[in-house]
């Protein structure tokens, strides 16, 4: 018997890739497909996906929900919920291309939503919390419906398959954005469920991740205390929630977040200048259970830019490169060279050292 994602914890190895244009110049998703193709060997056809930022400029003020449905009756049920809690500005099937490589597709729909003003008011939540809560509600109570993307002016596209096939399936070349991340997955099991593919996203935060974290259950049990429900049992899911919690709810910046989840060693902290030492000690102590150990390299996408981070021992490969306004992050250099053969600079960041790329006019 095969378990679905969420019923069993499935470790996996992976390829990750992220490209951002700091000046917000938009480029086509085509480049991402070409680049991730060269890391084909790092996946095994059991999951691939992309996140694109700046792809819905005409709807940029609305939450874009991407939803998988098992069948039409579930869709109806979910739409009732959406209708009750949101103004549905627009809805459509997400355009896809029939391909022999991609099988067993669910119904895939997209909604542009604005929280229903009276519902929002009576919930006494801030708008983003209201949206996040709605996503949790759908994903945990409407069986067969799964919201896999819920941010503004961004969207996740994922499926079971090799990432390059997933890109073609979703016609990624027809989207233009200023930032894309991509993921090819090598799970050690056959989950065969689309929701389990990556990126994982909540609101405008998306995470692609390569690794298997050894702190998983410590992290999960901690974050679940703060209103999150880990239903997929994947590393990416818990990392996304940690990022959302620390960034959106606790107001930490990404450098501070790095010193929580990939905290410097105590004997490194001791040698920091006084103020920095106190801060790192404070953060490490306060959020001790959100320290992530074991191998990981992650790329976080969000409203304001992109962040790349390795575990503190650097147990997974990750390189960063620059060309003009563009910054690239990849598991392997070759993927970057496919898009941009002539780079201004390329380097491998140290373990635990966050590479924070902020968009112009945005503060990270």
């Amino acid at each position: 018997m095969h378990f679905k994602e969420g019923e069993v914890r499935i470790p996996s190895g992976c390829a990750i890739l992220g490209v951002i244009d700091k000046s917000r110049k938009r480029f086509s998703g085509e480049d991402m497909i070409r680049a991730i193709t060269v890391m084909h060997e790092r996946g095994n056809g059991l999951g691939g996906g992309f996140a694109g930022y700046g792809i819905y400029p005409e709807y940029k003020d609305y939450y874009a929900f991407h939803v998988f449905y098992d069948d039409a009756s579930i869709k109806k049920q979910c739409e009732l919920f959406l209708d009750e809690h949101f103004d549905i500005i627009n809805l459509s099937k997400i355009p896809t291309r029939k391909m022999s490589e991609i099988k067993d597709e669910p119904l895939i729909w997209r909604y542009f939503l604005a929280p229903h003003p009276t519902k929002l008011k009576s919930s006494q939540l801030d708008e983003r919390e209201f949206v996040a809560k709605s996503v949790f509600k759908i994903n945990t109570t409407i069986k067969g419906a799964y919201v896999f993307s819920s941010g503004k002016n961004m969207g996740v596209f994922k499926a079971v398959g090799y990432p390059e096939d997933v890109g073609r399936f979703y016609k990624l070349e027809e989207y233009e954005g200023y930032c894309f991340t991509a993921h090819g997955r090598y799970p050690t099991n056959t989950p065969g469920w689309w929701g389990g593919a990556h990126p994982f996203a909540l609101l405008d935060y998306s995470v692609v991740h390569n690794g298997e974290i050894s702190s998983y259950d410590a992290n999960r049990r901690c974050i679940e205390m703060y209103g999150y429900k880990c239903t997929l049992l994947t590393d990416t899911e818990v990392i996304t929630y940690i990022v959302d919690y620390l960034h959106r709810k606790k107001g930490l910046d990404f450098k501070e977040i790095a010193s929580v989840i990939a905290a410097p060693f105590w004997n490194t902290i001791v040698n920091y200048p006084d103020e920095e030492r106190k801060k790192c000690e404070y953060l490490r102590n306060a959020f001790a259970s959100l320290l992530i150990t074991g191998p990981f390299s992650i790329i976080i996408g969000c409203q304001d830019g992109m962040v790349a981070l390795n575990d503190r021992l650097k147990l997974r490969p990750m390189v960063v490169a620059e060309k003009g306004d563009k910054v690239f992050v990849s598991t392997e250099e070759c993927a970057i060279r496919v898009i941009e053969p002539n780079l201004d600079r390329i380097w491998a960041p140290k373990g635990g050292e966050a590479v924070i790329i902020k968009l112009e006019d945005e503060r990270l």
Partner: protein, 499 residues
């Protein structure tokens, strides 16, 4: 007529014995005697408590202790032990007394839990090559980020204990154990960067120099509690209960309240030191809150307060109440926890296993979203580095060790502490016995033990691919049960091996 046949027999190999009379000298129970006319040693098995002092000291290895093969007629209901207890009580009319932890054959859940290791998908980490962190902070953790006008994070916290490894020496009072034993514990705690606990007998004036590594206890008898005692300490522990004797107090006989013990406890020489079962100012949870805050007031909110409770049936609800009483840490003492003296029937029949108490308290506090408000310390009993790894993975922040520390110092677990005649110089106040425990040696043995455990913990963590103990805390996926039923697994919150 004495109905009771001795449980243990002193077996002497007379062909090895050189009648040096060392055993005779060393035995405070007067088991050995010299028969001059025969130039031969004799033993009185009735007095033997099986503490191995003579066996260890004998220069020719002429001695050993054997369990008697004298038996009652077999009876699955009436065991020899039960029959003997009845004889004893019929003779004395008194409560049966024992010491150390519950020795009965209840399940030891630690022994039915196995630890994970990495293979292939996730590398193990070699602690000899890579940093492997065991440092922990104990205290209430706040996730509230406060920034100053310049946007910098304000880094003040509630008081915390800083430990190089999450192990502390649990409460053992001066009086129940000796001056030399206390000094050894204090010195070792200082050397190791951890803490020891004074227990309820006050803090001897000579040991204020170790106060940075000292947790002072405030128990129902309030012995030795005064302002300097509280302010000197690194933390204050309110003892509400003890795993070995939940629900009852303590009684240190007047014979032990002599000299320094009486001075340190601040009670007259020769008077019995009686700790009432409850604190007489705590009859409910709101009273506990008052005591917690009185102690905090008295120490300027600079000392974390620990509330120690015994693992009893409704420990989860109690723990949740304790968190809300303002405690910074909760120490939970399991039913295997040791004691200097307790009524046998209470020690052996009251309380629950620490593994189950820990798992359910950790879960309950998480369900209520208040787990980060306290640190959880567990004891009773932690016997090895693997017990520590399992306890932390179940959700503990730190462990207390008592019996293990005494054993490191030489205790042979004869469970006769209540007699006050500990031949190893630990649970005694008799000067000639106390001096047998050399603090310089005993302290080193404690340091060795914890250092050895630290190595083992690091190896196990490295095997799991975890390089900081914070990531082990509550990481129950790293554990699997063997031979446990569904209910036990669900309480422990772990899967069965093979799942």
């Amino acid at each position: 007529m004495n109905y009771i046949y001795p449980e243990y027999e002193v077996v002497r190999n007379h062909s090895r014995c050189i009648t040096c009379r060392a055993c005779e000298n060393q035995c405070a129970n007067n088991v050995h005697s010299y028969v001059e006319c025969e130039n031969r040693m004799e033993s009185n098995d009735d007095a033997c408590v099986n503490c191995h002092r003579c066996v260890t000291i004998c220069p020719t290895r002429a001695l050993k202790i054997a369990k008697t093969d004298h038996v009652f007629r077999e009876n699955a209901n009436w065991t020899g032990k039960t029959i003997n207890e009845i004889y004893k009580q019929a003779q004395s009319g008194g409560v049966l007394l024992s010491s150390m932890g519950n020795p009965e054959n209840y399940p030891v859940y630690f022994d039915k839990i196995l630890i994970n290791a990495s293979q292939v998908t996730n590398p193990s980490i070699d602690p000899l090559r890579e940093p492997m962190e065991t440092r922990v902070f104990l205290g209430s953790k706040s996730h509230d980020i406060v920034r100053d006008a310049a946007g910098k994070i304000v880094t003040e916290t509630t008081p915390q204990l800083d430990l190089s490894i999450p192990v502390m020496f649990s409460a053992m009072s001066y009086g129940s154990i000796s001056y030399n034993a206390h000094e050894s514990l204090a010195k070792a705690a200082q050397k190791l960067g951890i803490y020891y606990n004074t227990g309820e007998g006050g803090l001897h004036e000579d040991f204020y120099k170790y106060s940075k590594n000292t947790i002072v206890q405030v128990a129902s008898g309030r012995f030795g509690v005064h302002k300097d005692y509280l302010t000197a300490a690194a933390a204050i522990e309110i003892k509400m209960g003890q795993g070995a004797k939940p629900g009852i107090g303590g009684h240190l006989p007047g014979t032990k309240i002599i000299g320094d013990v009486s001075r340190t406890r601040m009670i007259p020489e020769g008077s019995d030191a009686i700790s009432p079962a409850p604190h007489h100012d705590i009859y409910s949870i709101e009273d506990l809150r008052q005591l917690v805050f009185s102690l905090k007031e008295a120490t300027d909110y600079k000392k974390p307060v620990i509330v120690k409770i015994a693992a009893v049936h409704n420990v989860t609800a109690i723990a949740s109440g304790v968190v809300r009483s303002g405690a910074d840490m909760i120490a939970i003492d399991g039913f295997r926890g040791g004691t200097g003296a307790a009524p046998t029937k209470i020690r052996d029949n009251v309380g629950i296993p620490i593994e189950l108490a820990l798992a359910s308290v950790d879960k309950r506090l998480r369900d209520e979203g208040i787990r980060d408000k306290v640190s959880l310390i567990v004891g009773g009993s932690i016997r090895s580095s693997s017990d520590i790894v399992k306890a932390i993975a179940l959700g503990a922040d730190c462990v207390y060790i008592g019996s293990a520390a005494l054993i490191a110092m030489g205790c042979h677990l004869c469970r006769n502490c209540q007699s006050g005649k500990c031949n190893w110089g630990i649970a005694t106040q008799m000067p000639e016995l106390v001096k047998r425990l050399n603090p310089a040696i005993a302290y080193q043995r404690l340091v060795n033990l914890i250092s050895a455990w630290r190595h083992e913990i690091k190896e196990m963590m490295g095997g799991m691919g975890i390089n900081s103990i914070e990531s082990l805390k509550g990481n129950r996926l790293m554990l699997r049960g063997v031979g446990l039923n569904e209910k036990e697994l669900s309480i422990l919150g772990i899967y069965h091996a093979g799942e």
